[in-house]
């Protein structure tokens, strides 16, 4: 029905035309304004390898596993490995733990790493620059550096004294944690980028090798190979071994010396690895003697849990004083408020057929002595913020420099060193990107995340674990990986949930479209801050207006 065109227009004032409220710019009411921010997720912040975890979880959520894997490869070339051996500080920092449990980032990384191997995804090296880099050590630091340098287009040769590549991944971590075929496959992928690995090659004179090979820079990552030792009074009846050698024997399938009643001395992950290896080698009993109290022992608690499930006995607050024949005298220690306990003067003894010391490692400084400029302090090689040693064109990383001494940290060193070497080779300085504000739990609104308890990875049952070196922790499958990835709350970075757009009483937000996020209509925004409060991931900040 049409209005009467003969009569005049609509009544004055009491009837209004649509759209007229837009003349009223209510933005003038504000005292503070919302601003979209990208903040740093705690997982990214915590990762020693600097992975952009949130980004690759984002791809995994959508089922785009290759894109997720390629995002990991921007920072870390060994995801199948990391998904097995990394101690996942990302999960320790994950804000989801404040809601239910941390996202199983490690398990998703492993899934993606395995997917890549299954599908044969590759990374292409960059355009050749004509520069050559020498890497000493085919451990995680060296492999990581080699990978990144090849992406920058430089030629790379790795030298390693061992018969196989992998460094501590192979020679320090038992097979039940790190299946060797996966490691081999990931190393092979790096070699396929035209990285030459010269195995069984110990370098005695680094600078000469550099000169002869016409290398333009050197990256040293020889690790910490020498075991630390405490003196234990002993009559030499039973062997006192060191952990590194024991684990190396296990790798090389040498005859095991871990027989009978095995005592492992030390509270770190290496001690646990040795103990669990002993179980598998058929020790009658395996006891780990730890100096510190349980809560202070350096080994990761999940490692300890798995060890206990397998039958390892854990005795804390003891120090080994004396070995007579098969009897080991222990002094009981008392926990103090400090980290280090104090002696009590009380003793007890246990029986043992072999003792393994797992109290840490030192670097083999010998080869470094003829590289002038390399400074060693407290047994550790010193580097600056760009991974440079005091020697010209010589960089270093991994366990041999100040480090938390994990595989992940080493991978991070390799990347950082590669970036700095690359900058050096191009005559520039590498400027690390600026870091945003880290997202804490209180910045989130976790109501909006579905109730989704963490996926529990299948575990090999205990009987089988004890009798072989099969991988203990099972896989996620396709469904679970996506599920687990979707538990990520996308801390600090808009994931286009439309909440702000939906929740603004003044319709003061424009939706730009998928992938393009949103903008504020500051002409109308009254600064009520509902958007900031209801943003699930803390990607909106309220900023005072300049009045």
């Amino acid at each position: 029905m049409k209005p009467n065109s003969v009569l005049q227009s609509k009544p004055f004032a009491i009837t209004l035309d649509v759209g007229t409220s837009l003349l009223n710019k209510t933005g003038t009411w504000r005292t503070e304004r919302p601003v979209y921010q990208d903040r740093l997720p705690p997982c990214n912040h915590a990762c020693p390898a600097g992975e952009n975890i949130q980004a690759w979880l984002g791809h995994a959520e959508e089922g785009d596993y290759e894109a997720a894997w390629r995002q990991i490869m921007e920072d870390n070339p060994l995801p199948a490995t990391m998904g097995r051996v990394c101690y996942h500080p990302c999960e320790g920092a994950c804000n989801r733990a404040g809601l239910d449990e941390a996202v199983g980032i490690n398990s998703v990384e492993r899934f993606l790493g395995d997917q890549a191997l299954m599908h044969g995804w590759q990374i292409e090296p960059g355009t050749a620059t004509g520069k050559r880099v020498m890497i000493v050590g085919a451990g995680p630091a060296g492999l990581s550096a080699a990978f990144h340098l090849r992406r920058f287009g430089h030629e790379v040769t790795i030298f390693d004294a061992n018969p196989q590549a992998g460094g501590m991944i192979r020679y320090g971590i038992p097979k039940y944690r790190m299946p060797r075929e996966k490691l081999r496959a990931e190393v092979a992928r790096i070699e396929a980028m035209a990285v030459e690995i010269k195995l069984n090659t110990k370098i005695d004179d680094i600078l000469r090798t550099k000169q002869e090979g016409r290398f333009d820079a050197v990256f040293l990552c020889i690790g910490a190979q020498l075991p630390k030792h405490v003196e234990i009074g002993s009559d030499d009846e039973i062997p006192i071994l060191d952990a590194a050698a024991v684990l190396r024997d296990a790798e090389l399938d040498n005859p095991s010396k871990l027989k009978g009643h095995v005592v492992v001395y030390g509270g770190g992950n290496t001690a646990i690895d040795v103990a669990r290896t002993a179980i598998r080698m058929g020790a009658i009993s395996t006891t780990v003697i730890v100096f510190e109290a349980r809560e202070h022992m350096p080994a990761h608690s999940f490692e300890v849990e798995e060890a206990l499930e397998e039958g390892v006995v854990l005795t804390c607050l003891r120090s080994i004083k004396q070995v007579d024949c098969r009897s080991v005298t222990l002094e009981r220690m008392r926990a103090t408020n400090e980290r280090w306990p104090e002696s009590t003067g009380e003793f007890e003894s246990i029986e043992a057929d072999v003792i393994v010391q797992a109290i840490g490692q030192d670097i083999d400084g010998g080869v470094l002595r003829n590289v002038p400029g390399v400074e060693i302090k407290d047994g550790i090689a010193q580097v600056d913020g760009t991974m440079r040693t005091g020697a010209e064109e010589v960089f270093a990383g991994g366990d041999m420099v100040p480090s938390i001494r994990t595989v992940t940290a080493a991978i991070g060193h390799g990347k950082k060193a590669a970036r700095n070497i690359d900058a050096y080779l191009r005559g520039e300085n590498h400027a690390p990107p600026e870091k945003h504000e880290v997202v804490t739990f209180d910045m989130l609104n976790t109501w909006y995340y579905s109730d989704a308890p963490r996926t529990v990875r299948p575990m090999l049952d205990v009987v089988r674990r004890k009798t072989g070196f099969a991988e203990v922790v099972g896989d996620l499958d396709d469904h679970n990986a996506a599920f687990e990835a979707r538990r990520c709350m996308s801390c600090g970075n808009c994931f286009e949930c439309d909440n702000c757009y939906g929740v603004c009483p003044d319709n003061a937000i424009t939706k730009l479209g998928p992938g393009k996020r949103f903008t504020f209509k500051y002409d109308y925004c009254k600064g009520c801050s509902i958007c900031a409060t209801e943003c699930p991931c803390g990607a909106i900040k309220m900023v005072l207006e300049d009045i």
Binding site: P3, L7, K10, I14
Partner: protein
């Protein structure tokens, strides 16, 4: 077609002929028969495309019409007395919004004290609202004016109330010529709203208007009524051309053109008055009568024209502004203030008090002598009143005046007398 029917029923038939689309109905004496008859017609299928709503109050009744009219439907309701008061918010709202609703008011006194009989109190309470107020003299005229009312309302885009004396007209049987559908359709085209709620052309009706524009809005409503002063006679002429009757218009004269004294009134009482006036004229007295058909808009110019030769006017009305006096008288005095005419104010028939030829004649004669009180309360029992006034001054008898008077004149007194 000629029919011998009750006034209410005739009105119902007239409204039905106007093709209403929404009728809202709430009972109140004395209009109830109108809506009952309309309801029956709708139920029997006698009015096409019409929704008959049985509402929960008069406030609901007019509110529903506001909604339906705003949505472009021809809308109608009826009320009286208390019902008018109950819907008063909506009355002002409908005119403020300019919605062409037609409403019948079966004129009835307003309480307290509760009284179901005829006077103009209800219509008077809405006289400032902006509604057009048309008074019918006879049931025939009621029928005719209703038909004119729809056209008037829709052309102006303003609501119209058609006022007819309760019981006297509503419940009286008379011979009435009910028009046929073809005539009505010729006179009254389909409703074309000035503004309408329609998803095809959205708008917001009923904004809040502040000091900066309110005056202008009110002026425009006032101006609309002034426009109506032109439109009402025009439509009455159009009506006569089709239906052959002179109904409606602004004022109607009964031998007033040359009279020295003119009695001015509204509604049905002119019927009784005509007999008195005819008798007095036969006795050589120069007297005539004038009814105001359109009370709102107040036909200032038409009255001045009609009364310019008179020496005196006696306004007779069934309404009282308590503390002031006659309402129609006030309005007329304002219109004639620069004329050298004496205007007497007589108030009578309140609450249905019978008006007789005898007491009318007496009153007119007194008026001609210029001996009427100001205002004159027609047929009042001053003994009862004086007794009550004295009593109040002496005793502080608690209770309502009405109850006290009933003690004197009503059932109680009668019982005491036994």
């Amino acid at each position: 077609m000629l029919k011998q029917v009750e006034g209410s029923h005739a009105v119902a038939e007239a409204v039905a002929l106007c093709r209403p689309e929404v009728i809202s109905a709430y009972p109140i004496t004395p209009q109830t028969h109108i809506v009952e008859d309309l309801g029956t017609m709708v139920k029997a299928g006698g009015i096409e495309n019409c929704q008959f709503m049985l509402v929960e109050s008069e406030f609901g009744a007019l509110s529903a019409c506001i909604g339906s009219s705003a949505a472009g439907a021809r809308s109608y309701t009826a009320t009286s007395s208390q019902g008018m008061l109950f819907m008063m918010e909506a009355v002002y709202n409908a005119s403020g919004m300019g919605l062409p609703i037609v409403m019948t008011v079966g004129n009835r006194a307003i309480g307290a004290p509760i009284n179901i009989w005829n006077d103009w109190g209800d219509s008077m309470s809405a006289r400032d609202s902006g509604w057009l107020q048309l008074f019918a003299e006879t049931n025939q005229e009621a029928v005719d004016v209703h038909i004119q009312a729809f056209k008037l309302a829709e052309e102006l885009s303003m609501p119209v109330m058609v006022c007819m004396d309760g019981f006297i007209l509503t419940h009286a049987y008379a011979r009435i010529d009910i028009p046929n559908q073809a005539q009505v359709d010729e006179f009254l085209p389909p409703f074309q709203p000035r503004q309408v709620l329609d998803p095809a052309a959205p708008l917001s009706m009923g904004a809040m208007v502040g000091p900066e524009a309110f005056t202008e809005v009110r002026y425009l409503a006032h101006h609309k009524q002034l426009e109506a002063l032109e439109l009402i006679p025009k439509q009455a002429a159009e009506f006569e051309a089709i239906f052959g009757r002179d109904s409606g218009g602004l004022v109607k004269s009964y031998e007033a053109e040359d009279a020295e004294t003119v009695v001015v009134t509204m509604g049905s009482v002119i019927g009784t008055m005509k007999e008195v006036l005819t008798g007095m004229r036969e006795d050589g007295i120069s007297i005539g009568g004038l009814t105001i058909r359109s009370f709102r808009p107040f036909p200032r110019e038409a009255l001045r024209e009609a009364l310019k030769h008179a020496k005196r006017v006696i306004v007779f009305e069934k309404s009282l502004a308590v503390g002031m006096g006659g309402i129609v008288a006030m309005n007329l005095r304002m219109a004639l203030q620069d004329f050298p005419i004496r205007v007497h104010s007589a108030i009578g028939g309140l609450g249905g008090r019978p008006i007789t030829r005898v007491n009318l004649r007496r009153m007119f004669e007194k008026g001609i002598q210029d001996q009427l009180e100001e205002p004159h309360f027609h047929d009042i029992n001053m003994d009862v009143v004086n007794r009550e006034i004295e009593r109040e001054q002496v005793e502080r008898r608690s209770g309502a005046i009405a109850e006290n008077i009933l003690h004197d004149v009503g059932v109680v007194a009668a019982a005491k007398a036994i």
